[in-house]
Each structure stands twice: as structure tokens, then as C-alpha cells.
């Protein structure tokens, strides 16, 4: 199965951090931007995981 190790690591970390993360996201009602912080980190993580491929490898 061709799954990148970065992605596997990310998934495991997300699973571990999920309860803490949801608590943090909903703890402060006025901090509505918090989900977007997590989202931005996820985008950066995905970008980092896919940055090295330069060829059309199919």
C-alpha cells in the first residue's frame, strides 16, 4: 500500500489529539477562528507532505 509515512504519522497524531482538539475548539465561544488555525496547519502539513514530487509519476 503506497501511503506516505508523513501521512500515516499525521493520521495517528490527529487521532491522539482529537479529544483535546475538540475541547479546545469549543471551549471559548468567541474564538470562532480556532478551527481555521487547525485547518491552516493541516493545509501546511499536506503541502509539506506533497512538496517533493516533481514529476508526473503515473
Amino acid at each position: 500500500m503506497y501511503i506516505s509515512r508523513t501521512l500515516m504519522l499525521g493520521l495517528v497524531l490527529a487521532l491522539i489529539a482529537f479529544p483535546v482538539l475538540t475541547d479546545w475548539l469549543t471551549s471559548d465561544f468567541s474564538a470562532w477562528y480556532r478551527p481555521y488555525i487547525v485547518w491552516t496547519l493541516l493545509i501546511l502539513f499536506t503541502w509539506w507532505g506533497n512538496r517533493s514530487r516533481q514529476t508526473d509519476e503515473l
Binding site: Y2, L25, L42, G49
Partner: protein, 984 residues
């Protein structure tokens, strides 16, 4: 402020004209390719996923369920974050096998036209609410813009008429720019660019609305924050937690929708021309979704602040009305129009392709064999289907009468498409799955969805199963979520159980291996009933028509860079696969597979295609980790070892196909591996073809030495060995021994020169005597007067001259023997005469001990040999015998016939050969003589000549006990008669 219908129509026309212009300019190339081919355009075109649900429906979700609206974006974004697990394997299949829709993909995997038909019908059913949602969003918006407060107030003709007109314009757009290329492998540049443009417009419009909400409805960000702090209703709604199964269901349906829905599937795979674009989408699409989600909360809060009467989905329009700003209303309408039109266009386009490939073509409504009209007919059929589908969506919308909210319609469609996810996930990950399981699961899941979700939501009708189910669940509010999860569970359970209990066909098993990313594909090397590429057109002509068959063959040949005369089985197999893939892009995989199987059937049997497996491994080695990477490294190491061995290696499959051809083989034969790998042995150039073919059928497993004459260069000498594997492959080892042979020839020539040198003194003496005699006789002749005396003296002179001539001839014969590199000419030779000649030559050597030679050979026996070479053999053997003897030496030669063979014994009573040297005497440089007296090449020369003559030589020593044990060399040659000539 209200808009008149004419104004709205004009607005719609201007916007859609802009869309037409973008598509037209992109197609014409006026918009530069660096823009239209940019990954950002591909990423933005994927924004087609965000239809009216994103522009309107999500605001409703945010209003009622707070943060849970993010599940819509997160579910879709997650598909791209996990792209390597699902999207890349599917993209690989889609690109290689030209699969442009979900139905194509599942038909390719499960090898059944029924699967295609089932998926297509089910998808049309599930997508109807989605199409109706888009049309309803536009219709309701028109209704509100026209001045009605609520969409349900007046379901009159006007807004439905505008919706219908919008649908018709969209039909024209889809037909003009979506059916430009028939094959799915060509990108519809205009369509992609227009969709990217719509995504940008949608994002810009929603962002502007967000600014209007923050700075128009609220007095800036600070005011909004303050309002939030002081509004318990907002807090309650924002932090409202849904039951867990509801959250999971939402996440799951949006995840499934982002990959299974036909419009996103089409943009993702059919319009992708470069993997790097999808790689950009892995982070670009979540980024776009995040940007698109940013305006949702401010808009929902603005809606709460305004407390308008419209459904919350139309807050943008409500803001326009509240602020009395036509511009704001227009922006809100543009957001809806761009989102809805994009989804309608691509969804109907994709559905039309599915209907054509899986409903129309398999039912043989179109006669493909009719020449010259396929492409045109396909184009018109596709156009008609687009129109029918959009109008079906419109009729479905009309039948709803506006009873449902946008979110309800969206959720029905999303939960319907969720039922396709198990089949899609099984495609790359579960080789055991089969078509019976898939269909069972699909009908089970979709049936349950239809009765518990689709009918109650869209028709307001709850069938018995629905009543029973809602009674069981109890909580009617969450019935959608529970029904969705249960439908999926039924689907998966049936899929797994039925797949495990029923038999998977061989065809499905092969397709599963091709699709599987877990197992190494084990392609089979099968033979085709064709001998050249040109024959493909004749075979395909009955199914496709002559012109289309020729056109498809040319297209495939051009893509593979093959000539029409191509005849390699490997190349023909690739050509067959390419033609099937191209036809799949044109007609769908089911019809394409059917045509190719029918017209170009594969012969039974076949073995693993090692070349293809190696190519796949080479192409994907960067993915291997751990043990797999180690094994691959090991494979490469052994491969490199085989390639760099200084021995030529050629492996032939049981069908005669060349599987391996290493570098040494290329050097020896001058034939490049790329030219012959995958070919039959018969494709090899001469003389190698005959040589290897003969040797493959030769009973012996090795030929120590054989000469190969190449037209372009000097002849070569090679030794051949072969072995057979358990699978029936034959491995040929070819060693180039030309250099060794040339050196041996040179050494043997040197030995001959040495012999001539040894004989020279004796020759001089032998010639000296008759010359002296001739001188005396000439002196006598000077004074002789008697004619009788003159005649007698002249006769004596002639006799002496003949003697000299004979000596010189013998020497010349000997010196020439073996020096020729020309063809060996075998002819009958008198054995006894040859032995006599050898004895005579040896007698010229005055320095040698004088021993007795006895020739007992039968004077009538003829052997098949080259007389000069045979003379050389006897000179060497008799010379060795003489050297081994003392003064009492006796060397005897006798012959016997045994059947068609002649045995010749050369016996001496010399010192014999030590037992330790007996096994080596025929090797070069092995001698029993004192240093300086022998070169050690004589017997090696004899051995070599006897092999050339097709004979053999054996040694027996000692012959007797005692002081002079003696030695016997036994020669064996073929018996001959006069009149026979043989060439080797």
C-alpha cells in the same frame, strides 16, 4: 428594491455570456496556455463541488447547527488530504485505462456491463435532488429578487420560467464546451477554465458578501464580536452539538460526495492531464474550501441580526433588501448562479457520458459498425443526453413544488452517493470483492436509502419500511442520519458477505490485480492471433467500421510510437491494451472491452509477463519501504549482476518470446535489447536466429565451439550452453571465444613454423644430394656426345629434379596445412598414402634418431578428411612417437574399420606417458620432452584438427610392462568412398 424579470433575465444572460466568453477564449488559445494549464486552474475547477449547497445551503446549516457546517468543507477537504490513499490510485487507473466516470471505473474493476447500467441508473436517481437543488436555488433567488418575501409565497410561473431559461442556456453551454472532445483523455480546456472562473467568481462574491455582513450589517469586526458576546442565541447555535452519529454521517456523506459525485469525479480524473496538478490539489483544494467557508459564519450572524423572513440560505439577498442595495443583491445572486450553473453543467455532462457508455451503447441502439459516422453520432447522442438530463432535473424540481429546503435536498443526494463509496474503496484495496457482492450491496443500500430518505424527503411519502424504521428509531429528527448510516451498513455487509460467499470470475480476478495497489500485478503474457499491427484494423473493422478502425489504429500506433509493420508479440499486446483504453475513453470500458475481446481474442494459455512486472516495479520503486524496498534493492542488484556478466544471457519463454537479453548479449550479437525484448526468436537477425533456434532444439546442452559468420564483420567463435527452468523457459548462455580461438590459431601456426624449422636442416641436406647429382650429371652432359648417353643423363637429371620437387612439395604442403582460415573441405583421402607422406617428411629430419616406421594400413581404406590436415596429424603423432623411442624404436600404424568408422592405431615402443600427464596431454603447452625441444602444442593441434574433421583421438599408455611400455594413439574417422565431398 425589486428587480423586474427582464432585468433578471438580462443579468443571467450577461453572466452566462461572460462564462461562454471565458470558455471560448480558453478553447481558442486567446487565454495563454500558461494560464489555462496552470495547476491553480485545475484546483479551482474542482470548486465545482461547491454548488448551491456551498453558496446558500451551508449558511442554513451554520444558522441551525453552528460549527457543524464545517463538516461540509472538512469532509470534502479530507478527501484531498488523504489523496495518496484514494485519489492517486484511482487517478492512475483512470489515466491508464481511460476511465472518465465512476461507472467506468467500477465496470473496469468488476467486468460487467450490468454494474455500469446499475451505477448509472442509481447515480441519475441520486443526482436528481442535487440538480433540483441547484435549479431551486436559482429559481428561489429569482423569486426573491422579483420582490416576493418567501419562495413558498407564490409558486407562480415567472421564476420557474427564468429557471427554465437558465437551464436551457446551461444546456447550450454544456453542449458547446463539454462535448468538444469525444475521448476522455483530451482535456476540455474551455470547460475547465470556465469552471475555474466560476469558482473564483463564487469565492469573490461570497467574500464580498462577508465584508458587507461585517461592515454593512454590523459596524465592523469589533461590533460583530461585541454582538456575539451579548447574544446568547448566537452562542447557543454556534456551539450546538449534534449527536455523534449525526456528525459522523455528515462527515461521511460529504467525504463520499467529494469523490463519488459525477461532476467532481469528472473534474478530478477525466480533466486531469498531469499528476502534479492533483498533488497541488491535495493542499490547494482544502485551502479553497477554507476560504470559501470563511464568509459562512458572518453571513449566518448577519441573518440572525437582521431577523429576516427569508430562509437563512438566502441571507445574501436579504442583506441586499435590508440595505436597499441592488449591488449586494446582485452579488448574492451571482454567487448562487455561479455555484449552481457550474454544478449543473459538469454533473449533467458526466451523467450524459455515463448514460451513453453504460445504457445507450451496450443496448446496441447505435450501430457502431456503420462506417464513418461513429464520432458524429456519439457527439449528437451525448448532446441529446445532456439536454434530457438537465430537463429531467428541471422537471424533478417542478415536481417538488418548493417543499424542501436546499439542505434537505443536498443531504438526500449526498447520502445517496455515499452508497457508491464501498465499491470505489474496494477497487484498489479489496481484490476479493466481486460484482455479485457489489450489486447486492448497492441494491440493498440504495433500496433502504430510497425508502427511508429519498421518498420521505422529496415526496413526503413514508412507505411501510420507513414507518417501521422511524418507529424503531423513535427520534424522528435524527432519522436521516440513522437511515444513512444503516443504509451504508447494509450495503457494506451485503457487499462483503456476498463477495466472500460467491465465486469471483477469472476476468474479475485479473482486473482486481490490475486495480490493486496492495498486490503486485501479475500480468499474463498471452499470444494474439495476429502477426502485425496492420492486421488490427482489419479485425476491428466489422465492429467499428473500416475508417474508424483505421483511425483508432493510427491513434494507438502514434501514442506508442510503433510502426504499422510492428510484429513483436509484446508490442502487439501493448497495442491491443492501448486500443482498448482509447475505445474505453470513447465508448466506455464495457463496450470497449466487449469489442476488443470479440475482434481480437487472446489465445488460451500464457505465462507471466516478466518484462511488464519489471517495468511496473521500476516505475513504482520510490513507493517501496521496509522489506519491500529491501527486496526491490536485491532484485535490482541481481538484475545488474546478470546484465553486467561477461557472458551473454538470453532467456526464452515457453512460447519462444525473448524475455531477457543482457548487455554482453548486445555486445556479442550487435542487437539492442530494446529491439528484441518481447519478440519471438524468429525476429532475430541472421545468423543468430538460426544459431539459437538450432541450439534450442539441439539434444546436447552445450556446444563448446561454433563459428558464426556475420555479413558485416569477421566471423566469430562462440560457445553455447543452455538450461531449462521449471516453468519451461530456456536460458541460453553465449560466450564469445573468438579471441581465444584466434590466439590458439596463432599458437598452432607457430608450432607449425617450429616444425618447419626443425625440418629445414634435413630438407637442405636432402635437396643438396640431388642438386650435387644434377651438377655432376650436367658436367657430364657438357662433354657427352653419344645421343644415348645424353638421353640417359637428361633422364637422370629429371629424376633428381622430381626428387627435389617432391621434397619441396611436401614441405609446402605441410607449411600450408592449417594456416588457411577458409572452409574445411572434407573429401575421401587414402589413409596409407597419407601415413607414407608423413613418414617421408619425418625422414627428412637427419638429426632425429633413426627408427623404423611400419605402415600396416590397408591400401584400399579411404577416410573422410582434409588430406593436408590429416598429414599434419600424422606428422605430429609419428614425430612424437619417434622422439619417445630410442635406437630400437619401432613405430607402427594400423587401421581397422568398424561400421562406417575407421580406427587408426599409432603405436610405439617408447618410454610411454606418465599417468599424471595422461589427462593433460591434449592441452596446450603440456609436454614430456626436455625444455627447448618441444613446444607442447603438437597434441593440442592434433586434438583440434581431429575435432574439425569430425573425428576423435584417444590415448592408451602404457601398452605393455617393462622398460619401454609404449604408447598408442587411436584416431577415429569416418569411412569414405570416392566421389563424396562434404563441407563443414
Amino acid at each position: 428594491m425589486n428587480f423586474s424579470l427582464a432585468q433578471i433575465l438580462l443579468f443571467v444572460a450577461v453572466y452566462l455570456s461572460g462564462l461562454f466568453a471565458v470558455a471560448y477564449l480558453a478553447d481558442r488559445g486567446t487565454i495563454p496556455a500558461r494560464i489555462t494549464k496552470h495547476p491553480a486552474v485545475y484546483v479551482l475547477s474542482l470548486g465545482v463541488f461547491a454548488g448551491a449547497m456551498a453558496s446558500n445551503g451551508v449558511i442554513d446549516i451554520a444558522y441551525h447547527y453552528g460549527y457543524n457546517f464545517l463538516l461540509y468543507y472538512a469532509g470534502a477537504g479530507l478527501v484531498f488530504v488523504l489523496a495518496t490513499m484514494l485519489l492517486f490510485p484511482l487517478l492512475r487507473l483512470s489515466r491508464v485505462y481511460q476511465l472518465s466516470s465512476l461507472a467506468d471505473m467500477l465496470v473496469f474493476r468488476f467486468r460487467s456491463p450490468r454494474v455500469g447500467a446499475a451505477i448509472t441508473i442509481a447515480m441519475c436517481l441520486a443526482l436528481l435532488p442535487m440538480l433540483a437543488l441547484q435549479i431551486q436555488a436559482v429559481g428561489d433567488s429569482v423569486h426573491i429578487l422579483a420582490g416576493h418575501d418567501h419562495p413558498l409565497d407564490d409558486a407562480g410561473f415567472h421564476h420557474e420560467g427564468v429557471a427554465l431559461l437558465t437551464c436551457l442556456v446551461i444546456v447550450v453551454f454544456a453542449i458547446l464546451f463539454g462535448t468538444r472532445h469525444l475521448s476522455s483523455q483530451d482535456r476540455n480546456t474551455g470547460l475547465v477554465t470556465a469552471m475555474a472562473f466560476e469558482s473564483l467568481v463564487k469565492l469573490a462574491a461570497l467574500s464580498l458578501l462577508m465584508l458587507v455582513a461585517i461592515y454593512g450589517v454590523f459596524d465592523g469586526h469589533g461590533d460583530m464580536q461585541q454582538w456575539l458576546q451579548q447574544s446568547p442565541a448566537a452562542e447557543q447555535q454556534l456551539t450546538r452539538r449534534l449527536p455523534l452519529e449525526h456528525t459522523h454521517s455528515l462527515m461521511l456523506v460529504f467525504f463520499a460526495g467529494a469523490v463519488c459525485m459525477p461532476h467532481i469525479f469528472h473534474m478530478l480524473f477525466a480533466e486531469n492531464t498531469d499528476t502534479r496538478d492533483l498533488r497541488s490539489a491535495t493542499w490547494g483544494m482544502p485551502l479553497y474550501m477554507m476560504l470559501l467557508s470563511l464568509p459562512v459564519l458572518p453571513l449566518a450572524w448577519a441573518g440572525m441580526r437582521l431577523q429576516h423572513d427569508l430562509p437563512m440560505a438566502y441571507t445574501g439577498l436579504a442583506m441586499g433588501a435590508s440595505l436597499a442595495s441592488p449591488a449586494v443583491s446582485s452579488i448574492a445572486f451571482v454567487a448562487t448562479l455561479s455555484a449552481a450553473s457550474a454544478t449543473i453543467i459538469v454533473a449533467t455532462l458526466a451523467l450524459a457520458n455515463m448514460c451513453l457508455n453504460h445504457l445507450v451503447l451496450p443496448s446496441r441502439l447505435l450501430n457502431l459498425g456503420q462506417d464513418g459516422s461513429i464520432y458524429r453520432n456519439l457527439k449528437w447522442l451525448r448532446r441529446a443526453l445532456i439536454a434530457v438530463l438537465i430537463l429531467a432535473g428541471y422537471l424533478f424540481y417542478l415536481s417538488l413544488s418548493g417543499r424542501q429546503s436546499l439542505v434537505e435536498l443536498g443531504l438526500v443526494a449526498f447520502s445517496g452517493t455515499l452508497q457508491f463509496l464501498p465499491g470505489l474503496v474496494a477497487t484498489p484495496y479489496w481484490p476479493r470483492a466481486n460484482r455479485i457482492g457489489l450489486l447486492a450491496g448497492l441494491w440493498g443500500g440504495l433500496g433502504f436509502w430510497f425508502f427511508t430518505v429519498m421518498l420521505p424527503t422529496t415526496r413526503g411519502y413514508l412507505p411501510e419500511i420507513g414507518i417501521w424504521f422511524s418507529a424503531l428509531v423513535g427520534d424522528t429528527e435524527n432519522i436521516w442520519a440513522t437511515a444513512t448510516v444503516l443504509a451504508l451498513s447494509i450495503n457494506v455487509a451485503l457487499f462483503v458477505v456476498v463477495s466472500l460467499l460467491t465465486r469471483t470470475s477469472e476476468e474479475e480476478r485479473v482486473a482486481a490485480e490490475i486495480c490493486s495497489m496492495d498486490d503486485l500485478a501479475r500480468p499474463i503474457r498471452q499470444m494474439l492471433p495476429l502477426t502485425s499491427a496492420a492486421e488490427f484494423a482489419d479485425k476491428l473493422a466489422p465492429a467499428l467500421g473500416e475508417n474508424t478502425a483505421q483511425a483508432e489504429l493510427e491513434r494507438a500506433l502514434q501514442q506508442l510510437q510503433f510502426a504499422r509493420s510492428e510484429s513483436r508479440p509484446y508490442a502487439l499486446r501493448r497495442l491491443r491494451r492501448r486500443i482498448e483504453a482509447n475505445l474505453s475513453g470513447l465508448l466506455g470500458p464495457a463496450v470497449a472491452h466487449n469489442i476488443v475481446e470479440r475482434c481480437i481474442p487472446i489465445q488460451a494459455g500464457g505465462t507471466e509477463d516478466i518484462n511488464l512486472i519489471e517495468r511496473s516495479l521500476d516505475a513504482s520503486h520510490q513507493y517501496f519501504t521496509g522489506l519491500a524496498a529491501d527486496l526491490d534493492a536485491l532484485r535490482r542488484r541481481y538484475r545488474e549482476t546478470l546484465d553486467t556478466l561477461p557472458v551473454g544471457i538470453c532467456s526464452l519463454g515457453s512460447d519462444g518470446e525473448l524475455i531477457m537479453w543482457n548487455r554482453s548479449m548486445q555486445d556479442i550479437t550487435g542487437v539492442a535489447a530494446a529491439d528484441v525484448l518481447g519478440s519471438l526468436l524468429s525476429a532475430l537477425p541472421e545468423p543468430w536466429q538460426t544459431l539459437f533456434d538450432d541450439f534450442r532444439n539441439h539434444e546436447s546442452n552445450s556446444v563448446l565451439k561454433t563459428e558464426v559468420e556475420e555479413a558485416s564483420s569477421d566471423s566469430r567463435w562462440v560457445s553455447l550452453h543452455k538450461t531449462e527452468t521449471l516453468e519451461g523457459d530456456v536460458i541460453l548462455l553465449v560466450e564469445d571465444i573468438t579471441a581465444f580461438e584466434r590466439m590458439e590459431e596463432e599458437l598452432l601456426h607457430n608450432e607449425r613454423l617450429a616444425s618447419i624449422g626443425r625440418l629445414a636442416a634435413g630438407v637442405a641436406h636432402e635437396i643438396g644430394n640431388p642438386v650435387t647429382g644434377i651438377a655432376c650429371l650436367a658436367q657430364n652432359l657438357e662433354y657427352a656426345e653419344d645421343p644415348e648417353e645424353i638421353s640417359s643423363t637428361a633422364g637422370e637429371i629429371l629424376k633428381q629434379t622430381e626428387r627435389v620437387t617432391r621434397i619441396v612439395e611436401s614441405l609446402v604442403n605441410f607449411s600450408h596445412a592449417g594456416s588457411s582460415t577458409g572452409e574445411l573441405e572434407l573429401m575421401p583421402c587414402n589413409l596409407a598414402d597419407c601415413v607414407d607422406e608423413a613418414v617421408h617428411l619425418l625422414s627428412l629430419d637427419r638429426d632425429a634418431p633413426s627408427i623404423v616406421f611400419r605402415n600396416h594400413c590397408d591400401r584400399e581404406i579411404l577416410v573422410l578428411a582434409d588430406s593436408q590436415r590429416l598429414l599434419q596429424v600424422f606428422v605430429n603423432l609419428l614425430g612424437n612417437a619417434r622422439d619417445a623411442c630410442d635406437e630400437t624404436g619401432l613405430v607402427q600404424v594400423q587401421s581397422f574399420t568398424r561400421g562406417q568408422r575407421v580406427l587408426i592405431d599409432v603405436d610405439d615402443n617408447g618410454c610411454g606417458i606418465p599417468a599424471t600427464l595422461k589427462s593433460q596431454v591434449f592441452e596446450p603447452f603440456v609436454t614430456t620432452k626436455d625444455p627447448g625441444t618441444g613446444t607442447g602444442l603438437g597434441l593440442a593441434l592434433v586434438y583440434s584438427i581431429m575435432e574439425d574433421l569430425g573425428g576423435s583421438i584417444h590415448l592408451t599408455s602404457p601398452l605393455q610392462s617393462g622398460h619401454n611400455p609404449g604408447t598408442r594413439f587411436t584416431l577415429e574417422l569416418a569411412l569414405a568412398n570416392y566421389g563424396e565431398t562434404f563441407a563443414m
